[in-house]
């Protein structure tokens, strides 16, 4: 099962429509959290919001995560060591208030196991890829360093 995440703030029809079309073409089993009560899909299962145990279950069962380039989704995939595809939201398409998701995608483009896609064609290719590996952020040093600095700031 592939788990797709639009996040908790805004719908992401460009991603969801692409997933629906691709699932139809290839018979993929996709569960999508859409943040979009008005979205009706043909080939994928959808929930507007998934929280708590339901969200955790979906993440655990997924063999791959597809998401907007939201830090929450990325951190969760990293924590659970899942392969991940991210599609950044674009401000010029009204998908977010600014282009910080493009910046996020640029920042993490080289992380093993993380694939950045910008359109349906690239998304389809990534979904069908065979050689997927879990995301791997080698960040422990950076995290420890920030925690220490915040601890000192907090006093």
């Amino acid at each position: 099962m592939i788990f797709a995440i639009a996040g908790t703030q805004l719908p992401f029809p460009r991603l969801m429509n692409a997933l629906d079309a691709i699932a139809g073409r290839h018979g993929l089993d996709i569960l999508a959290q859409t943040a979009d009560p008005g979205f009706s899909a043909v080939n994928i299962r959808t929930e507007v919001f998934l929280r708590g145990a339901a969200f955790d279950n979906a993440m655990a069962q997924a063999r791959m995560i597809v998401a907007h380039a939201g830090i929450g989704a990325i951190m969760t995939a990293a924590e659970l060591r899942k392969p991940m595809i991210i599609m950044p939201r674009r401000a010029d398409l009204g998908e977010h208030r600014n282009d910080h998701q493009l910046a996020t995608a640029n920042r993490f483009a080289d992380v093993p196991g993380l694939t950045v896609v910008h359109d349906e064609a690239a998304l389809e290719k990534a979904l069908l890829a065979r050689d997927v590996v879990p995301v791997s952020f080698t960040n422990q040093g950076r995290v420890t360093s920030l925690i220490s600095a915040v601890a000192e700031a907090v006093g």
């Binding site: 996040g7 908790t8 703030q9 929280r51 708590g52 145990a53 955790d56 939201g70 830090i71 929450g72 989704a73 990325i74 951190m75 969760t76 990293a78 208030r97 910080h100 998701q101 910046a103 996020t104 640029n106 920042r107 993490f108 952020f137 960040n139 040093g141 950076r142 995290v143 420890t144 360093s145 920030l146 925690i147 220490s148 600095a149 915040v150 601890a151 700031a153 907090v154 006093g155």
Partner: protein
Amino acid sequence: MLCVSSGGGHWQQLMALRPAWEGKQVSYACTAPVNQDKFQLPNFFQIPDCNRNTMKKIFSSIPAYVRVFRRTRPSVVVSTGALPGLFFIAMGRMTGARTVWVESIANSERLSLSGKVASLVADKFFVQAEHLADGKRRIYAGSVL
């Protein structure tokens, strides 16, 4: 101590930083409901959300923020953003609390709007991208990813 954030990634970053205040008495406030089974938070307040596009919501949310602040009377306020967190940093500043802002790692190329304001108000301001540090108020000391 009061730790405040918006939902989603902001909250997850706050949780990743939890070891920084281990052993202290802490209350938490978030704009989204939080999984209490997962996070085991002693004092949790859900607060209304707002952003720069929702002027009306900003004004109607402020009384709730003030209520939580008065209830918790923090001597330290930490926030990972976004706009709701900024209000708490401002209240902390006004009451002489120590205030710490950690700009979201989502803001890799430029600061968020609330971050820009927070950088002028908070006692300590951390960025999570090296090139956003300015050697003065904006400090790079690592990142959650």
